[in-house]
Symmetry: D2
C-alpha cells in the first residue's frame, strides 16, 4: 500500500521537502473526536529543531486542516491536514544532485524513480515529511488518552550515554509529554546534549536508541500470524527515517538467556492478571497481554555530516568526493521520539478500531 | 489483514496444531513456475525437529498441493498446499487448559477469542503452522533463484556462542542451503549443540540470534513511507514464533557510532555502484541499493520448559503452579532459520512483483 | 486483491474444476459462531444441478472443515473448508483445448496465464468453484440471521417469463430459503422450467434476472466514496459466473423517470423512519437507510450450448468451428441464486464487522 | 478501504462541499508522466455546470498540485491535488439540517456519523467532490492514451430520449472528448436539452443512462474471482453520485436471449482474434478479451427538486414537509460523464500497473 498504512484507520502521507506543501490524509477516524489545534502545534514544536542541538532550518509549521473537521470535531470523513513549506533553500542541493550522499536515499531514489524524483533536500524521503506524521498522530493521541491509553518515548541511549530505565511508568510517561529533550535523568540529558554538540563541532553526528512505553492497552489485541502487534508496529516504525532496528521487551539484550530466565511468570495483582517481569514487552503470540507495551528503536547517526566523504557520481558512474553543505542536525533522536509516539498512536488506534469497531473512539455529541 | 500477507502475492495461513490439517494459499503467483515437490519435502525436513536437539514429536509432513498447479507448473491461479496433522497427542494439553504457560499465547488467545480458541498444543499459534509457511516459501524460492536472488540464514548466536560472521556470501549462502544445523563455523556448531543439550538436561531452553543474507536483489525496490523494505520484512519476520527483535545491517551494534563511522561510502567496483561497508544492510531510505540485504532476528528461548513455573489459572483468576509435560524443543533457532528464509522469499517476491509486474517470474512454456 | 475479498472478513477461493479439490479460507470470523454442517450440506444441495433442468454431472459435494472450528464453533482463526472433486471427466476437454468456446474464458485465460492455465472444464473459472463460495456463505448466513438479517433471492425473470414482484418480504424470504427452484409464483415457475427444457431440447440455453432482498440491515452501514454498499456488493456479485449487470432498487427500469417520481419520500411508521417507496434499494449516498436492500443481477444465458459455433483456434490463430460436448446446464439462474445469497452474506458480514467490530457476531460461550 | 481505491495506484478523496478545500491524493503513479495543467483545467470545465442546463453555482475550480510533480512531470511519489471551495452559500442549508432530503444522504450520514457530519451542501457526499476525482483522472488519462487506450462516455439516454448507438468507435470517442454536451446525435442532443429545461421549469429533474467505451485495452487483464474487470469497475462507478445500475455489454437488454444469440463468436480479423458481436462488453470470465470494453451506468434523476416533498425530521422523529432552496442541477448526466471517464481511467491504470508493473506508464527522461 505504499505511502499509506492502516486498515480501519488509513494514513496517507504526501509532500517533498522543497515542494509547496507536505500533508497527511486520515481516513476512518471516528466522528466526534475533539480536534485541539494548540495540541497539534505543541507536538509539531517538539518535533522541530531547536537550540544548539538542532539544524538552523526553522519553520513554524503552520498547518491547516482542510477537511474532515466541523465545529471543532472530526466528522468521520477523511481529514486532510496541510503544512506549507516556508523556508527552503533549494539551490543548496542542485550542485550535488548527481552525488550519492552516503547513508541517504539519493541513489536508491534515482534507481526507483529513474531520475524523475524531486532531489531537493531529500524530496519525499526528507525527515520534513514526519511533520505530517506528527500532525496525524496529534489527532489520535487524545482519542487514545480518552480511553486510558498513554504513550511515551525517551532517548534511552545517545552517543553511548544511557538514560535511566523506565520506573514509575504513568509518572514517567506524563513527564515525557512535556519535555523538549526527552531524557528522564537530568544528568544523562546534559551529557547527551554535550555529546551532540561535540559531534556537531567535529562536523559529525550521533545516533542511539529510543525506548517507548504504552500503558493502558487492553489485552487481546493483535493477530497471531502476520498482523502481530510487533509486526504491525515495526512495519510503521521502520518508516521513521534512520530507524534500523526494532525490538520488543528485552529483545537482543536477553538473546543469551535461558527460557527459565526469559519467561514472564503470570501472577495476580489486585485482581488483575499481570506478569512479574515484562521481557516480552507486553505481547505474547502477537497479541497484547494487558501489560505495558515496551519497545526500542535503534536510530542510526544522522547521515548528513560535514566531513569530506567518498562517494560516486551516479550519472557518470565514477568515483567522487562530497562535502555536504546546507543545514543539518547532528542528532535527530530527540526529535524523532515524538514521531515514534505518533506512529505508535496511529497503529494502536487502527488495531483497536479493527477489533472494537470504528465508532469506539467517538466523542459525545 | 490478519492471517494474510502480501499484495501482488498474498499468502494466507490456516490450521491448528491438533486440528485436521494446516496449510497455505498463495494467490498471485506467476504462471509457469516449476513446482518441485522433492524440494518442498527437503525444506520441510530442515524445519522438522531431529536428533537430540529437537522435540520427540516427529511428523513426516506429507503435503498435498490441491490447486494452482497443472502438469508440474503453477497455473497463476491460487495454489493451496495442505499438510495433514498426523502425530498429535491432544490429551497432553487438556489438563493445563486454564493455566497460562508463561511466554506462550494461551492467555492472550483466551483474551482475543473469548475461550473459543482451540487450545490444544498452542492451536493456531503453534510453531507447527510454520510448516505451511516453509512449504509456501519452497514454491517461490526457486523462482527467486532463477532471477539470481539467493537467501541464506545462519544461527549467528545461540546460548552465548557466536558463529563466525558472513564472509564470501555466495559460498556461505550455498553452504547453508544444505546444512541441517546452519552454523558456518564447525566448532561453534558443536558448542551450540552442546549448549542446547545442556539446557535440555536442565529442563530448560535457549535462544539466540539468526542472521540472514540476501544476494542478488536489484536496486530500487521498496517504498519510502510505510512499505520500506525494512518495514515489510520485519512485519512478516515478527510472525515467526519467538522473534522479538529485528535489525538491519549493523543495527543496535553500532548505536553508539558517529555518522562518519556508520555511513556506507559509495564506490565503483567493476563498473558497478557498491558501498564499501554495509552498515545499512542494503537498504537506504527504505529502498534496496543493490548491496546484499542483511538482517538479524532475535529469537527468544523456547518458552516451553520442564521446570516448575509460577502462573495463573485464568478461568479462576488465581495464582497457580505449572509443570509442562508434552514434547518440546530446548531450542528452535536451527529450525526457525528455514522459516526465516521462507518468509524473506515470500516478501521479496511480492515486492518485486509489485514493481516489475506479476509475470516477471513466469517460467518458459 | 485477486481471489480474495473483504477486509474484516476475508474470503479466499482456490481450486480448479478438474483438480483435486476446491475450497475457501475465511479469515476474520468472530469466535463462537455455531457451525452447522447439515446446513452447509443443504445449501450446497441447492446449488447442485438436479433433475431435467440441470447438467448430468452430479457430485455429492462432500466437504471437510480442516481448521478454524473447535467443538462445533468457530475459533476466530482462519477456517478452511475443502470440497474434493469426485466426478470429473477430464478427457472431454482436451480435444477442444485450443478452440475458444464463445462466451467462456478459454481465450482470456490463455491471454492472462500464457498457456499454463488448467484448461480442463474451465479450470479456475468453472462455476464449480462457486460451491466453495456457497460453503463459505453457509458459515456466515446463520450469524447474520442471529442478528435479524435475512437474505433471499428469486429468479425474477427467465427466458422472458417474469416471476411476481416481492410482496410480504419476511414471508417471501422465508419461503425462498426452502425452495429448490426459487420462483415465488408457481405458474411462473412451471413456465420457466418448460422454457429451460425447451432450450435444452434445442441444444441451447437461457438466462435472466435474479432479484435479491435483504431485510434487517441496520441503517448507517457503508461508505460515501468507493466502499459504497452498491460498490462493494457489485464488486462481489460480478464474480458470480455469467452476471453482466447489477442494479439497485429501480435501477434501469426508472431511467426515464423524473426526480419527483423517483425520490423515496421519508415517513414515520410505528416510530421508525422508513421510505414510502424503495426505488433507491435501501441505500442513499452509498449507506444503508434501514429499508430492505434490493438489487437485481442480470445472468447471461449459459455460454455452453450444443449448437455448432464459429470460433478461432487461438494456438494457430485461424478460424475454426466448435461443437461442445460434455455435460452442461441449459440454465444456471436457479442454481446461481444461492451463490448470490452467499456472496451477499459475506459482503454484509464484512461491512458490519468493519463498523461494529469483529466480535459483534460472537456466539455465547 | 473507505475513501480510497486501487492497489498499484491508490486514489484517496477528501473534502466537503462547504469546507476549505476538496482534493485527492494519487499514490503509486509511475515517475515521468507529463502533467498538463491546461488539460486538467479543461476536464474540470467539462464537469462544471454551465448554461441553462446547470446549477447557478459556478466555481472556476482553481486547483493546485502541491506534491508529486517536479519540473512538469510526476516524481512517482504521492501526488496531492487541492481544489479550494470558493463559492459556497452555507446558510442555505442550516435551516433544513434536520430534514432528510429524499434521495439524498442526509439521513444515512446522520446514522453513520451520529450527527457529527458536515451537513452543509451534502458535505462529503456532495457531487462537488467529483471535481477532485476528475482532476485525478486527468493525471492518468494522458498516460493511458500514450499506450493507445482511449475512453469516451456519452449520454445514451436522458428523459426517455435515446442517443444513437456507438458506431465508428475511435471517431466517436475522439468527438466526445471535445463535446461539452456529450451526445453523438445532434438532434437527440437538442431534444435532451429541451427535456432538461422542461424539467427545470417544473422544478423537477431528470436522469438517464451513460454509455462508456474503452478502446485499446490489451487482452488478459483482470482476475477470475472478485477482481473481475466488471467487479472492479462497478465498485468504483457506483461511487459516482446517483449511479444505481451498471451493466456490461448487452446486460439487462438481452436478459431474455438464448445462448446462441448472446454468445460472441470469435473470428480472425486482419490477423487478430476478435468477436463478431460484443454482447459481453469486452470481458470474458472477468478478463479483457481485447475487444472494446463497453458498459452503461444508470444515473437516477437529481434528487434535489424544487417541489414540496414529504419527509421526516430525523431529530424529532416526526413527519415533516420540505421545500428545497439553493442551487441545483435539473440533470447531472452530461456532467457525470467526465466523472465516468475519470473513474474508468483510474481503475484501468491500476489494473494495468498490477499486471505489467508500476513503471509501465513511465515517460521518457
Amino acid at each position: 500500500m505504499k505511502n499509506s498504512m492502516g486498515q480501519a484507520l488509513t494514513v496517507t502521507l504526501f509532500g517533498e521537502s522543497h515542494g509547496a506543501m507536505i500533508g497527511a490524509v486520515l481516513d476512518g477516524l471516528a466522528p466526534g473526536i475533539a480536534v485541539d489545534e494548540d495540541r497539534i502545534a505543541a507536538l509539531l514544536t517538539l518535533r522541530r529543531p531547536a537550540g544548539r542541538t538542532g539544524t538552523a532550518r526553522r519553520e513554524a509549521d503552520h498547518f491547516q486542516i482542510v477537511s474532515g473537521v466541523f465545529e471543532g470535531k472530526t466528522t468521520g470523513t477523511p481529514l486532510c491536514i496541510l503544512i506549507p513549506n516556508e523556508d527552503a533553500h533549494s539551490k543548496d542541493y542542485a550542485a550535488v544532485r548527481r552525488l550519492a550522499r552516503p547513508g541517504h536515499a539519493d541513489y536508491t531514489a534515482y534507481c526507483k524513480y529513474h531520475g524523475f524524483e524531486d532531489y531537493r533536500g531529500g524530496g519525499h524521503f526528507s525527515g520534513r515529511v514526519t511533520a505530517a506524521l506528527v500532525a496525524a498522530g496529534a489527532i489520535v493521541l487524545p482519542a487514545l488518552q480518552s480511553k486510558g491509553i498513554y504513550i511515551g518515548t525517551h532517548v534511552r541511549r545517545c552517543a553511548g550515554i544511557e538514560d535511566r530505565a523506565f520506573g514509575d511508568l504513568p509518572a514517567d510517561v506524563r513527564a515525557l509529554s512535556e519535555m523538549p529533550f526527552a531524557v528522564l535523568d537530568t544528568d544523562a540529558a546534559n551529557r547527551m546534549r554535550e555529546a551532540i554538540e561535540d559531534a556537531a563541532k567535529d562536523g559529525d553526528s550521533v545516533g542511539g536508541v529510543l525506548e517507548t512505553a504504552v500503558i493502558g492497552m487492553p489485552a487481546g489485541v493483535g493477530e497471531p500470524w502476520f498482523d502481530t502487534v510487533e509486526g504491525v508496529l515495526s512495519h510503521a516504525l521502520f518508516s521513521i527515517p534512520a530507524v534500523k532496528g526494532v525490538q520488543f521487551g528485552a529483545g537482543f539484550d536477553l538473546a543469551d538467556a535461558r527460557g527459565s530466565a526469559f519467561n514472564d511468570a503470570f501472577t495476580m495483582r489486585c485482581g488483575e492478571i499481570v506478569t512479574r517481569t515484562n521481557h516480552g514487552g507486553g505481547v505474547n503470540g502477537g497479541i497484547t497481554n494487558g501489560m505495558p507495551i515496551l519497545f526500542r528503536c535503534m536510530v542510526k547517526p544522522t547521515p548528513s555530516i560535514y566531513k569530506q566523504q567518498d562517494t560516486v557520481d551516479f550519472f557518470a558512474k565514477e568515483n567522487a568526493s562530497l562535502q555536504i553543505a546546507g543545514r543539518h542536525d547532528p542528532a535527530i533522536l530527540h526529535r524523532a521520539r515524538i514521531v515514534a509516539d505518533s506512529v505508535t498512536a496511529l497503529v494502536l488506534y487502527d488495531l483497536l478500531a479493527m477489533r472494537i469497531g470504528t465508532d469506539w473512539f467517538m466523542g459525545e455529541a
